[in-house]
Symmetry: C2
Subunit: 358 residues, 2 copies
């Protein structure tokens, strides 16, 4: 039975239905800028332990909703849960970001990666989704997510974060069939993983293609977009009596909105390098747009934040035509932001009056 | 008296004059992928010592021209010579990239930065330019260069390389007038520095805006492009009887080609995320385009490199209309490239027959 949503503004904007005001959430809204998050994380032990602790993962997901009138919650988890479940041994080194104990470079490495059964192998994620849905009590929709195959592959091949993607690019240009084998396997895993999240209760899913922007324009379509299209084609698009919208976010993908629109995604996430006004001209209302304030804007004074939000929303509604638009940052909020400033951002969006069509 | 250039193909393409074939050079062509470069660098001691040694800086500039039939030489130097000359104490830590002993964060820090006299304070650069011109003997033109004010500022404010530009962005959003004071000072320094290079013999100059792509779309124009426009307006545009073309390269700037065209630059550099075909539609022959093969393509087999070069040049000349185009990589060649593969790239460009206008 479909649970009634007290606030479905976010879903409505994603699906192109009228909204009373612009829905808003913040990427990485459960994060280190919040003192209560830091306290819970310390209680859990470390970041990965926090992801795997149902009660505490639920707690940190709900924390920002207590502070701010956000229109969506997002599952607290990591993009690298899939390779971790495949046995690569995810760990975090202070100041170094994520690392894997095992790396994936050869045909044998790829062949050995197990097929996942997400309900079993990533049961802690599904438990968190269920607990969060219960904790939300229908207040706002819950977003599930995954990294894109290309983005996951970069970490698996490099063994962690990278600036130049030396080994992944080497595989791409020297042995593209090997990289395709890895990406195909990851596309299946991501599809199954997102479907399991949807069955567990995620009402929207977002694919984070954090490193798609490192690819050349032809290679983006062949090595990243193609697999995201396959994933979207394999997703449960209606569950529990409701459509399940999909958001596609390629950081650095502002030049590729046209091919991204053809994936079947309901919305495209934009980083701060893209003008919302230009993006709207490109997508012509065929998909929703989400974004895209530079998170560093939140270092500014409240007055400057308000002015920046107004400029962004003016771009989003430039010509008075109702737009499928969700306000957000252009990337995750950083740990150095004052929580009060995040509140100024959310409130400025909510106070903005959407211009009515002519 | 104007020295005769044996090969002026690069200058001709920059200025929109007919060429017999596509001119080609490679960003960072004097670099660690060449064993002879590594030998000379070892002889010098370290990277900075190499930049400051006239004879050896000249030697490494000429090395790639002995191997490949390149159409331009580029001064061997670093983008951070200006802040170093301002007294910040540039040094390099293995694996960490450039660092400064002094950082620039306050009004007093900015006020204390000295006005440079490049002929005196960066005499080693001018000595290298003169030595290289003499060493080239008119074979091909010599490119001088500088980092952009925004790019230099990020290193000066962060104290080195950065991923998130926390402190520079904080200054930008919190105290924009402070950042403008720094950028204005740097714009003067860059103008004087490039003019000194032109007087010493640089026949083309390129501005490297390596981190412009980290800025939001509005902030790019206000904090990076504006100062590059000021610089171009202040450059010596004709010297020794010849026009001195200017190339503007913002990495990650593919969405901003239109405002970049209005700076007065003769050519725009493109990274590999931008389709040359789309870029040509945008610039309409008003400026030349330079780029843009993903340097990682050179990890591939010779056959794949040849195919990638052909695809790039087909894009560059898609409709048979003569184009102002210079073949290059979309960023510096990496240290892991086989020198023979760089040769395949250069040769593939040279063997490509430019289609004649219908």
């Amino acid at each position: 039975m479909t649970q009634t949503l007290k606030n479905d503004r976010f879903l409505r904007a994603l699906l192109g239905q009228p909204v009373d005001r612009t829905p808003v959430w913040m990427m990485r809204q459960a994060g280190r800028y919040l003192p209560e998050y830091k306290a819970t994380r310390a209680e859990a032990g470390d970041f990965l332990a926090l992801c795997k602790n149902t009660e505490l993962a639920c707690e940190v997901t709900l924390q920002p909703l207590r502070r701010y009138a956000l229109d969506a919650a997002i599952l607290f988890s990591d993009i690298l849960t899939i390779p971790d479940a495949m046995g690569l041994g995810l760990y975090f080194e202070t100041g170094e970001g994520p690392r894997f104990r095992k790396i994936v470079r050869t045909e044998a490495d790829i062949a050995q990666l197990p097929l996942l059964q997400p309900e079993r192998d990533l049961d802690y994620v599904m438990a968190a989704v269920k607990a969060i849905r219960s904790g939300l009590g229908g207040a706002v929709p819950l977003i599930g997510f995954s990294g894109s195959p290309w983005t996951l592959a970069t970490y698996m091949v490099e063994g962690g974060s990278s600036r130049e993607f030396r080994h992944t690019k080497e595989m791409l240009y020297r042995s593209p069939e090997l990289l395709h084998a890895l990406l195909a396997k990851l596309a299946v895993a991501v599809t199954d993983y997102l479907n399991a999240q949807i069955r567990a209760g995620a009402q929207v899913v977002q694919i984070f293609d954090s490193w798609g922007g490192a690819l050349a324009h032809r290679e983006y379509e062949e090595f990243s977009l193609r697999y995201m299209r396959d994933i979207i084609a394999g997703l449960i698009r209606e569950h529990d009596g409701r459509k399940v919208p999909v958001i596609l976010f390629t950081k650095g993908g502002g030049q590729w909105l046209e091919p991204m629109m053809e994936t079947g995604a309901d919305a495209l996430g934009l980083d701060w390098t893209t003008s919302l006004q230009q993006a709207r001209r490109t997508v012509q209302g065929k998909v929703a747009l989400q974004g895209n304030l530079d998170p560093s804007t939140l270092y500014a004074s409240p007055e400057r934040i308000q002015a920046a939000v107004k400029a962004m929303l003016d771009d989003a509604y430039a010509d008075g035509v109702p737009t499928r638009y969700i306000a957000n940052l252009g990337h995750g909020i950083t740990q150095w932001v004052d929580p009060a400033h995040a509140g100024v951002f959310v409130q400025a969006v909510q106070e903005y009056r959407i211009p009515q069509a002519g």
